[in-house]
Amino acid sequence: MRHLPWIVFALTGAFALAVIATQRGEPINALWIVTAAVCLFIVAYRYYALYIAKHVMRLDPGRPTPAVRRADGLDYVATEKTVLFGHHFAAIAGAGPLVGPVLAAQMGYLPGTLWILAGVVVAGAVQDFMVLFISMRRDGRSLGELVRMEMGAVAGTIALFGTLMIMIILLAVLALIVVKALAESPWGMFTVAATVPLAMAMGVYTRWIRPGRVGEVSLIGFVGLILAIIYGQQIAASPVWGPFFTFTPEQLCWLLIGYGAVASVLPVWLLLAPRDYLSTFLKIGAIAALAVCIVIMAPPLRMPALTQFVDGSGPVWSGTLFPFLFITIACGAVSGFHALIASGTTPKLIANEAHAPLIGYGAMLMEAFVAIMALVGASILDPGIYFAMNSPAAVLGPDAASAAAAVTNMGFPITADALTQAAKDVGETTIISRTGGAPTLAVAMAEIFSHVIGGPGMKAFWYHFAILFEALFILTAVDAGTRAGRFMIQDLIGLAAPRFRDTKALLPGLIATGLCVSGWGFFLYQGVTDPLGGVNTLWPVFGISNQMLAAMALMFCTAVLFRMKRERYAWVTAVPTAWLLICTISAGSLKLFSPDPKIGFLSHAAVFSEAAARGEVLAPAKSMAEMNRIIFNDRIDAALCALFLAVVLALLYFAVKTCIAARRSNEPTAREIPPSAVPAE
């Protein structure tokens, strides 16, 4: 009888899925997808997460956690579980689960939905939960240290290096999304620029006027943000200030690089911390509001379940459903980055081992729910608008008429007037080729929010609110990520030159910051000047790298299960590892060697270098110098893919080696802190 409520959830979910699967031809309501997701997540949590907790990990509520053993009131604090759930969710949910599903919608809503649902239950949430568990049993150490402990120093260094490269690509792609959203948009640019002085004022307030009053200062900041959005409209319309806040993508790129370099060496209380307050609370608030408004609005999905682009000819990103869909949606289904968070502050705060399923597995389910909402958002838009916003300018041509013709030609009829009107509704001059996912999501959020609050007249406000919300936490991530990247670089160089490790010393810090900024700045510039729009090139590389990190984390978890002598249960992590390895290795190799120049970097480079040898200039390049830059970029991207492949294969080798050694041993070799260890004073 105790299973009865869960059976009800399972049946409801199955029914919702059946509706999604059978209703063809007429648009289905978004609520079916939301219902299916919620029911599936509840059942997966009750059965799979608790199965893992009980049998695979054998969580022991009596065993002291790091927060108990090493309690210091600062880093190690036993925290109430719902409070910690909020902390962990806020740390894992960022731009990824919002952007990936929007891009994936080019294949229709069905493939993305199914991958998010299956991926999170079997892979993503398992990874977060396992890493949290392993770190929790080892004093809350970080992923790099854990790999070093359980798989050896070489594997640890490779993992650290791989993580750094992924971080750099992540920062570049996030910055690119901001550039795409703010270019030629004085309203958006003004509101985002206004957050800098606003955050600084908040920083001064929390530093000297009323230290520690985070709630108070955030409210003041929030009012400031709303005022910035409201006045942004007038600023954008002003003949003086409008052009002043209008930037080309290339100008924005340099602004961002400069911003990243300066912001990451400023004291944290001045800019980073206060903006983090704003972006965190805005993010949580916007996500909650989106969920409520989707339920109230109950919009029908206008995107077809499947589009013809499953064959790989899509304009948003190139490549067939397998393997490229599975790397396009990384965060939301499975995200390697979470392994860093789950081995960060959370394991030091967990009060009881029994809380781990809710925090590790549950928070990731919640992120998958965010991804489902983003997918719903992209799918309620007119597909004509979706493709006009997300196709590269090279496909769409110079104006609304050519864009409407191009999109209609794809099979999604739309008129030039409709495109112009859609731009006008959200207070922009154009929405054509606003790639990167963020603007599309902002249009969808404007649609959903204005349905509930304010009506069509508020659309422009909500659009810029959504852009601000996305840009704000991306900029925070760029700032915080540059700092984290700096420490990773110092650690890595420190392996060769120990003096470089000193985080207080000025010169190594500046050098490492410079290296980090120029790393992501390089890829950002490449993406901004890429005639295909950049997102097309960079998002797959980011997806591959993020999924590879997930594969690495899951391989590590498998190795630990072997070392615990629980290889009977190793399938829990080995199955998602295998799937991720298949996806990322095939996607990585296709990116390298595919003969189709739209997919393979090397064949693309070959087409251009052959033309260059003949003295020809191929579109979209306009000069021989641009030709050479395209060739150079292709080769860099190819080298990067090769590097990621090498890193993941090296880790695979070490994981297999560790597993074999563990099998030979008669006793567990995992280095857990024993349950009886006395608290360290």
């Binding site: 009131g73 600062l74 990824g96 985070v214 944290v268 307050y277 705060l349 991530a477 915080a480 700092r483």
Partner: protein, 61 residues
């Protein structure tokens, strides 16, 4: 209701890396009665530095 609001406040604070000052104080009185605890402003600055200035800067995508 006040319990719920207090928990909400605590959650919001921890989301931006600020643990409970009361918990810190009770830890200090229970375990280190000989040491003078930081005052609230010092505690806040200490936590801010720990969250952003150190190695915990990684935020997710």
């Amino acid at each position: 209701m006040t319990g719920f609001l207090a928990r909400l406040r605590e959650t919001a604070h921890l989301m931006v890396g600020l643990p409970s000052y009361d918990a810190y104080l009770s830890h200090m009185t229970a375990r280190h009665p000989d040491q003078k605890p930081m005052n609230e402003a010092e505690f806040f600055r200490n936590r801010q530095e720990a969250r952003y200035g150190g190695r915990n800067g990684g935020r997710c995508c």
